[in-house]
Symmetry: C2
Subunit: 205 residues, 2 copies
């Protein structure tokens, strides 16, 4: 059985469900610890009045789900076990309980390789990396950046500490993807966060 | 065909080759950007007089290989393409040119999930994480830590900047693995590096 073809079919079913119910789904990918959960937490607080839900993918445990649920929204954990990425089948089982959600954030497993191959049915693909992973992280993973709608370069306040050239990271991202929206953020300092929220509010309208 | 059984058979062939030729092979795993290449670079410089070689696994490109080769040792790049981990088959093709090496560092693809399943034939498994990935990175990936011989918690000088509790990370590692040697390092500041080199020199003797 062609794994990716089967996944595509389920992803389309998920996408139909999202469109029918007016849900905008985001697939948030990126390396381990790039800041995906913190982004969701801060975004929930800033999008007051909008019905937000979240599905948090991890190998094991519910840590990310509990962090997000503590912000007062519906959140569900998916444990992928041996799999290093979410796929449409995992998501298919979870979406029906989010029928009245407007924005659904799906946090993928931390991994810069396989999540790029599996469409979940999302409307927007977000790739988040942090400067602390080194300024070559973009050029080393062209696939996942090529397919992104939004690219977030996070923890920029730490660039000097690891000698990372943020301009190079953004250049590499732009070379791989002419259309994506690119944000530079530091979620602890608040840098670039307003620009992200403004883009999100545009999308919801 | 059972993928892992086929891998195990090739890993044993690799291991026989290493043992016959007096090569101590290390499989260095860890998340994207945790500091694996920098560790190899600094270790080469500190192990003057010992014949060191390196195999650098990445999805694409030769960036890590060129960094390591510039330290004057034999280094080979392996590009894994769609695969998010090295396996014994990739390694099998590279090892014959390292016959006169004493220490062979194999840097795995940045990923905290799949590399744990694939024995390469190494003698020591090293797992390297950095505090900037968040202090929950150990508890979230039990499999890879359970099988480690050495665990390195890197970039410790940045712990406050990301509010990471390094004691917790070390506690989590010790709970998962009673035997592994655990190092806390900051490769830029030099913290803990001598302890790592001392351990390595013990191993070589
Ligand atoms: N200084 C700084 N720390 C950050 C920033 N974003 C996230 N962090 C810290 O980085 C660590 C990881 O953040 P998370 O939000 O858990 O990252 P994640 O991508 O969800 O991690 P996984 O789900 O484990 O892949 C935590 O210690 C955060 O506090 C940032 O912009 N600046
Ligand atoms: N401040 C600080 N920076 C570090 C430390 N170790 C590595 N770095 C920086 O972290 C970034 C990544 O280091 P690399 O050695 O390329 O990491 P890697 O694990 O080989 O990365 P991949 O091969 O891409 O998975 C680079 O900018 C390094 O300079 C450390 O202990 N402290
Ligand atoms: Mg997370
Ligand atoms: Mg590297
Ligand atoms: Zn994978
Ligand atoms: Zn994998």
């Amino acid at each position: 059985v062609d794994l990716l073809a089967a996944n595509k079919k389920l992803a389309e079913e998920n996408r139909e469900f999202f469109e029918k119910n007016g849900i905008i789904a985001f697939n948030i990918m990126g390396a381990t610890g790039s800041g995906k959960t913190l982004l969701i937490e801060k975004t929930i607080d800033a999008m007051d009045g909008v019905k937000v839900g979240a599905i948090l993918g991890d190998v094991i445990g519910k840590a990310d789900c509990e962090r997000v649920a503590s912000h007062g929204i519906k959140a569900e954990a998916i444990n992928t076990g041996k799999e290093c990425h979410l796929d449409a089948h995992f998501i298919h089982h979870s979406i029906y309980s989010f029928a009245d959600t407007e924005l659904l954030f799906i946090e993928n497993v931390g991994n810069m390789v396989c999540p790029a191959d599996f469409d979940l049915g999302e409307k927007f693909r977000i790739v988040m990396v942090s400067v602390t992973e080194g300024d070559d992280v973009v050029e080393k993973h062209p696939e996942i950046f090529r397919l992104a709608d939004v690219i977030i370069i996070n923890k920029v306040a730490l660039a000097d500490a690891v000698e990372a050239d943020v301009d190079k990271m953004e250049r590499d991202a732009r070379n791989l993807n002419a259309k994506a929206k690119i944000f530079r953020t530091d979620l602890r300092k608040g840098t670039g966060f307003d620009e992200w929220i403004n883009w999100l509010k545009e999308v919801v309208r």
